[in-house]
């Protein structure tokens, strides 16, 4: 039977699958058929866990159109992502909206370097895959602080002609930064495009490395957002001297034109509130644990 596009919207946003990629990085498959159907690499979604929750942008790794699910990977940083990480398969999310943002520009460019850092590798994967499918030679450089934070290595290998890995502490691959590898490659080879997703400081380093070689470099920015539909301007960023909204004009921009300093400062805007919320959440969890513990003790007694 043909399914109505409307009835698809009735689904709860149920978590159907969960994996712990490392202690602080989790993977979920979530039922969201409309998003699964219309997602294109480069796009993201916005999640709200519950009635009192905030709206946070998360990156989409993959979709399963048949089962109507989207795959997300996120790192636990503050209260919302920690709370999200505690959810189990079968649990539902209050809201999932997307796919938002402009799709990445995927064409046959020739030789494409995909540079990902930390959980930035998650949204990089669908782009690398699409570049490969479009007939490009794909070279991937993955970086993280230490070995267990390298994610999706097997998946990336499947869609790349070559893969380089770096860790800050040298626990896996080469010791150092993704930009070190990229710099060396650029001295020996010619590339047609570089795509980078990860912490702002890493993307800035990548942009600085590629600039002298004049290789078009695209960065996918991770600004703070509220609605994600161009309504509030929380995610504004200066690109080539003009103010752009990451949510609707991006998230992909020419990395050589992005004001990364501004992006990094704006990302810090709510640090004190984040700390306050995370501390309060920890206390909440501890007191909940204590009361369970005392209940158990009473029962035993």
């Amino acid at each position: 039977m043909e399914r109505s596009i409307v009835s698809d919207g009735d689904k709860m946003y149920r978590i159907t699958h969960k994996e712990e990629l490392c202690e602080t990085v989790k993977l979920f498959d979530i039922e969201a058929p409309l998003i699964a159907k219309n997602f294109k690499p480069g796009q993201f979604l916005i999640v709200r866990i519950d009635e009192t929750g905030e709206r946070i942008p998360l990156t989409i790794v993959d979709t399963d159109r048949i089962n109507g699910t989207v795959r997300i990977i996120f790192q636990e940083v503050g209260k919302t992502t920690k709370k999200l990480g505690m959810l189990k398969p079968g649990d539902t999310l209050q809201d999932v909206t997307g796919p938002l943002g402009k799709p990445a520009e995927i064409e046959k460019f020739g030789k494409v370097v995909c540079v990902g850092g930390g959980v930035g590798v998650a949204p990089l994967y669908p782009q690398a895959k699409a570049f490969k499918e479009a007939g490009n030679e794909v070279i991937s450089i993955l970086g993280a602080r230490r070995k267990e934070l390298i994610i999706l290595e097997d998946e990336i290998r499947k869609v790349s002609d070559r893969v380089y890995i770096t860790t800050n502490d040298g626990s896996y691959g080469r010791k150092g930064f993704v930009s070190d590898v990229l710099r060396e490659l650029l001295e020996k080879e010619k590339f047609d495009r570089v795509v980078t997703i990860g912490p702002a400081v890493m993307m800035m380093a990548v942009a600085m490395v590629t600039k002298p070689h004049n290789v078009k470099t695209i960065a996918s920015l991770n600004a703070i957002m509220v609605d994600g539909t161009g309504m509030c301007g929380a995610c504004r960023v200066t690109v080539g001297g003009e103010t752009k909204f990451t949510c609707v004009d991006g998230p992909d921009f020419d990395a050589h034109l992005v004001d990364f300093r501004e992006l990094m400062e704006r990302q810090k805007m709510y640090i004190s509130e984040e700390i306050r919320a995370t501390e309060a959440y920890k206390e909440e969890l501890e007191s909940a644990l204590l009361s369970v513990y005392s209940l158990l003790k009473q029962k035993k007694g």
Binding site: S4, I5, V6, G9, L34, I35, N38, R48, T52, G53, E54, R55, K79, T80, Q94, D95, V96, T97, G98, P99, L100, V226, D227, T229, G230, M231, C232, G233, A234, R236, V237, T238, T243, V248, E262, E265, R266, K268, M269, Y270, E273, E274, R276, A277, A280
Partner: protein, 461 residues
């Protein structure tokens, strides 16, 4: 019967109290006050007030029913034309509409039509809302994009006529600007929820978290629905384009108000969304949104709040009532002043705003006198939060993603007097078609489009 020259006053929270809370400022009429005010209505045969109402409420009719103590019937009379009376009774600029044409108003103060509308609406909410009789289903399906005042009105009218209506809303809560824009102290969200629930009870289905143009396309909707109404509003914030505008501590009014109203940041950390609470706040602009922002900043605990406006008091676009409320609450007005540069501290945080004084020249194309900078009059004010409330542009999402939909140079969707767009089976209305205007103007557009959609569904024309 002696003529009472003045409008019956509506009780309000004391300004000293209310700047510390988000409860509603205006407290509404008691039944006695409503009866007294209704008695002031002259029941003019030609009812000039009705021509000032964008949704043509039978104003003398409902006031007569109040006079007779028939409050239940009075609200039904309003609801023949207006599905959202609790909202319009609070936020309509009646002084420019119905009350402007009131015969009493020629010599004395006009009848408090808005206050009476609010009274009977609140009366019904307290007693339990009555639903009209279920219409015979027509089997026709209409999709509405956006659940603001235009969309809700269009949806309600079409549902009453027996059509099957679905609203698609991009945010997680229906109501559009009524939820994210207008603050709790002016329009309690409970009132919006009640009126949205009324629309749902009329049979309208509301799907949140659906961004038309992204989650589904308009073309996909056209495959499944007989007609579409676009009411996506003026959601795109305007900025000044001056140096320092992207510093931390500079908000668009949309962001500031959305954080506080929709996301309930005033209850952080109980609610997860934070908002910056400035000590010294400058709000740029002098419309209703600017007043809302200034008064919200005060309630969040600001010590000093400025309204910075480039023209004089006479040209301020906000309602008088809102300007008065802001003044009572201690907002300071820096008129004939415009910001030229924002400077930050070493942490990229707003520290100062450089302004220049203005004088008024010849009238411009808007008919208002053009402000001209006075050379050498620059001065600086210390601020730690700036809210830019200089207007919104139409939401570009649908115009950008739909082929063949004609737009104007202002980015609004081109429509005829019935709301028809250049695309077959697609109507539009509200701020997306007119540019930023009022709640009731959007409702009027939703209503006209609903009538025309109904005609099309019945006759195919």
């Amino acid at each position: 019967m002696p003529i009472i020259k003045e409008k019956t006053k509506m009780k309000e929270q004391d300004p000293k109290e209310r700047i510390h809370n988000f409860y509603e400022v205006a407290l509404g009429y008691s039944p006695e006050e409503a009866l007294r005010e209704a008695d002031r209505c002259l029941q003019c045969k030609n009812a000039p007030c009705i021509k000032g109402c964008p949704v043509n409420i039978d104003i003398p009719g409902f006031i007569k029913l109040i006079k007779d103590g028939k409050f239940d019937e009075a609200i039904q009379k309003i609801k023949e034309k207006n599905n959202l009376p609790g909202i319009t009774g609070r936020v309509c600029p009646q002084e420019e509409q119905c009350e402007k044409y009131c015969t009493m108003g020629k010599k004395f103060e006009p009848v408090g039509i808005g206050r009476l509308e609010r009274f009977v609406s609140d009366w019904e909410t307290k007693k339990g809302i009555k639903l009209p009789e279920k219409p015979v289903p027509t089997g026709k399906k209409v999709a509405i994009v956006g659940s603001g005042p235009a969309g809700l009105t269009c949806a309600g009218d079409l549902a009453k006529l027996g059509h099957s209506v679905t609203i698609f809303e991009s945010l997680h809560k229906p109501g559009g600007v009524l939820m994210y824009g207008i603050p709790e102290f002016r329009l309690p969200k409970k009132i919006v929820e009640n009126e949205v629930n009324y629309i749902k009870k009329l049979g309208v289905e509301i799907k949140t978290d659906v961004v038309v143009g992204k989650t589904i396309t308009l073309e996909e909707l056209l495959d499944e629905y007989d007609a579409i109404f676009i009411g996506t509003g003026a959601g795109l914030p305007r900025f000044l384009g001056i140096p320092g505008e992207n510093l931390n501590g500079v908000y668009s009014a949309n962001e500031f108000l959305t954080r506080v109203n929709l996301m309930k940041a005033y209850r952080f950390p109980e609610y997860d969304t934070p908002v910056k609470k400035g000590k010294r706040v400058a709000v740029i602009g002098a419309g209703n949104v600017a007043m809302d922002s200034a008064r919200t900043a005060l309630r969040l605990g600001a010590e000093k709040v400025y309204i910075v406006y480039r023209r004089s008091e006479k040209e301020m676009p906000a309602r008088n009532e809102e300007i008065e409320h802001a003044k009572e609450e201690g907002v300071e007005f820096l008129l004939l002043t415009t910001p030229v540069r924002i400077t930050g501290d070493e942490n990229y945080w707003v520290k100062q705003m450089k302004c220049i004084k203005m004088k008024l020249g010849e009238p411009d194309e808007s008919g208002r006198r053009r402000p001209i900078p006075i050379e050498g009059s620059e001065f600086e004010i210390d601020v730690d939060l700036i809210i830019i409330a200089i207007g919104q542009r139409p939401n570009p999402l649908i115009p950008q993603t739909v082929k063949g939909l004609k737009t104007t140079k202002w980015g609004t969707i081109e429509v005829d007097e019935n709301g028809r767009t250049s695309l077959d089976r697609v109507w539009a209305g509200g701020d997306i078609a007119t540019g930023a205007a009022t709640v009731i103007a959007a409702m009027g557009a939703g209503k006209r489009a609903a009538a025309d959609i109904h005609k099309y569904l019945k006759t195919g024309e």
